[in-house]
Assembly symmetry: C2
Homo-oligomer: 336 residues x 2
C-alpha cells in the first residue's frame, strides 16, 4: 500500500484529494488496495496519520479553518523526516526565483529514495537536471505531467508515446490567462480591462506579473527544453517578452491582416523563447479562450497537435493522478 505525503494544500492539493476520493473504488478494483495519504501540509500546518487520513476531511478542514492540520511546523524537512511515506506529491506554490520550499522538499524526497510527483514549476525550471540526477542516483521516479499544460498531456506524451521520435520543435500556448486576455483584446478591449475581467473570473491573480510578463510560460518552456529536448537549460536562459506592451492599435493592425496576437512559447534545439507573435486567425495557434495547445513536430510521425485545459482544480489534479497511476501500474520508469 503506497503512502503519499502531500506538500502544498491550495487548489491543486485539494483537487488531488478530491480525485483520490472520487477514484477510490476504481483504485481498489484495479490494484486491490488504495494508496493512503499519510500526511498533508500547507505552509504552516500539517496533518499526519500512519494509517491514512480521509482525503475529503482534509479538504473540508482546510476550507473551514484555512488550516489542513492542527499541528504547526516551522521546517518542512523536519515533517518529511518524521513521516514514513513512499510518494511525495509536491504542489506547494511555484517560486520561480529560488525554487522555494518545493525545491527543498523534492530534493529531500529523492535523496531519501522516495518517488516524486509534482506540478511545481519552480524546482523543475531552475534545477531540472540536478533533480533528474538525484532521482537516478537514488533509483526513484520523478513525474511532472501537470507542470506544463495542466490536463493537456504533453510531458508523458513526448516521453512515452513519442519516445522514439526526434522532436524537432514544440510551439504552443501554455498560459490560459494570457490567452484569455489576448482573446478579449481581439474584441476591442484594452489590456487593463481584459486583465480586470480575467481577475474577476479567477483566471488571473491579484498580482498578475507571473502570467502577463511571460514568466509562467517561460518556466514551462524551460521544463520542456530539458525534459523533451534533453537540453540543459534554466529559466534564466529563456528569452522572454510578455504581453503588457501590446496595444489595441497592434491588435487592430493584426486584425486588418486577418491575424491575431498570441503569446507563444517555442522550444527546439536552438530556440528557447516566449514572445507575442502574429498568428493567422485560422491557424491552430490562433485559438481563443483559456485552453492550452501544443504543436509538436516529430521526425517520423510528422506534426502532432494536442489541446486541453491548461489549468483548473480537478484538471491539474487529474494530471497528478495520471502520474500516480503510471507509478502504480509499474509503467513509470525508475531513473537508473
Amino acid at each position: 500500500m503506497k503512502r503519499i505525503l502531500i506538500s502544498g494544500f491550495g487548489t491543486v492539493g485539494q483537487g488531488f484529494c478530491e480525485v483520490l476520493s472520487l477514484r477510490k473504488d476504481w483504485l481498489m478494483e484495479r490494484y486491490g488496495e488504495v494508496p493512503v495519504v499519510v500526511a498533508a501540509m500547507d505552509s504552516k500546518t500539517v496533518a499526519k496519520c500512519p494509517e491514512g487520513l480521509d482525503p475529503l476531511a482534509l479538504v473540508e478542514r482546510k476550507q473551514t479553518s484555512r488550516k489542513v492540520g492542527e499541528e504547526t511546523y516551522s521546517d518542512s524537512l523536519e515533517v518529511l523526516g518524521s513521516v514514513d511515506f513512499d510518494i511525495l506529491v509536491e504542489v506547494s506554490p511555484t517560486d520561480i526565483k529560488t525554487g522555494g520550499v518545493g525545491l527543498k522538499n523534492i530534493e529531500y524526497a529523492l535523496s531519501h529514495g522516495k518517488d516524486v510527483i509534482t506540478v511545481n514549476k519552480g524546482p523543475l525550471a531552475l534545477e531540472f537536471n540536478k533533480l533528474m540526477t538525484l532521482a537516478k542516483d537514488n533509483g526513484c521516479r520523478i513525474r511532472f505531467e501537470g507542470s506544463v499544460g495542466g490536463a493537456m498531456p504533453i510531458i508523458n506524451l513526448c516521453h512515452e508515446n513519442l519516445a522514439a521520435e526526434k522532436i524537432r520543435s514544440v510551439r504552443g500556448i501554455f498560459n490560459g490567462t494570457c490567452n484569455f486576455i489576448l482573446s478579449k483584446m481581439d474584441n476591442g478591449q484594452p489590456f487593463e480591462q481584459a486583465l480586470k475581467e480575467a481577475q474577476q473570473l479567477g483566471y488571473a491573480e491579484t498580482d498578475p506579473t507571473n502570467d502577463v510578463e511571460g514568466y509562467d510560460t517561460a518556466a514551462k518552456v524551460a521544463i520542456l527544453a530539458n525534459a523533451v529536448f534533453h537540453r540543459d537549460v534554466k529559466f534564466s536562459d529563456v528569452k522572454i517578452t510578455g504581453i503588457t506592451g501590446i496595444t489595441p492599435e497592434a491588435i487592430a493592425q493584426a486584425a486588418s491582416r486577418n491575424m491575431v496576437i498570441r503569446l507563444i512559447g517555442e522550444i527546439s534545439e536552438t530556440k528557447l523563447e516566449v514572445s507575442p507573435r502574429l498568428i493567422p486567425r485560422d491557424h491552430p495557434l490562433g485559438i481563443s479562450g483559456t485552453l492550452n495547445i501544443a504543436l509538436i513536430e516529430a521526425d517520423l510521425a510528422g506534426p502532432i497537435t494536442i489541446k486541453g485545459r491548461g489549468a483548473g482544480r480537478i484538471e491539474t489534479a487529474s494530471a497528478i493522478f495520471s502520474d500516480l497511476v503510471a507509478i502504480l501500474d509499474g509503467r513509470a520508469e525508475k531513473l537508473c
Copy 2:
C-alpha cells in the same frame, strides 16, 4: 535480443523496416542491442534467417522483384510455426469481412505466447475481445496504436496517459481519404472528380469502397469502442453511412450556413456511429485535408483534442515502432 516476424510487406511493412534501420543506433544506445527481423512474409513469399535479416535489403528486394523472399509458402501458419520469434508485427492487408490471414496469424502468435503489434483493422474490429482474452490467457502483449489514426496517438493515449479518466465520448475524423474528398467538395468539386483527384494523389485506392462507404472509419470506431470504452462490439454493430450520397447541393447549402460536411465517427457508452455531419466551419472537426483528429471528452481532464497524420508509410510505421519501444521499455502491460 528480441526476434521480430513481419507478416505483410506492403507499404507499412516496408516503412517499418525503414524505421528499424533509421533507428538502429538509437536502439543500440537505449537497449544495448537491436531487435532483429528473423522473418518477413508477403502474401506468397517469405525470407527467413535466425540471425536476422537486413531490413533495408528486404525492402529493396521487394521493390525490385515484388517478392520479399525467395521461398514461397502456401500456409502462413506453417511459416509462423517454423520460425523462432518473440514479436509478430502483423501488417497484412485488412480484410474487414473475415479478418483474413491477419486474424489467423495473430491468433496463432498469441496462442503460442508471442507478443503482437498490429495495425490490421480486420482482426481488431471483428474479434477484439477474443484476441484480448487470448493475450491474457497466454500472458502476452497485444498493441495496436497505428490501427486508429496512424501516427496520431490515441489508443495508448487513452489506455495509458488517460488510464484513470472516464472517457465520455470520442468523436473524430479517422479517414483522411474521405476528408480530402469532402474538403475538395467544399471548393465546388463534385464527388466523382474529388475522388479521382484523391486516387491520382494516391490517397484513395482503385476500389475506394472501404473508404467512401465509411467501412474503414467504422472499423476504427469498433476498435475504439472495445479498447477505450471496454464495450463488446463488432464491426457489424456500427451504424454506418458513407459519403457517396453527398451532393454539391448539400455542400452548398451547408456552406450558406457557414458549415461544412465531414465524415464523423462517434463512440460513447451508447453511440457507435459513422455518418456525414454538418460541422461549423470554425469547429475543430471542420478541418480540411488528410489529417485525422479526435475530440476526447474525459470526466476529470475535460476535453482533449489530438490531431495528426492518419496514414503514410513512415507515419504508420512510427506508430508500430512506438509500440515496439513500449514493449522493449517494459512499459507495455502484459494482459494477465
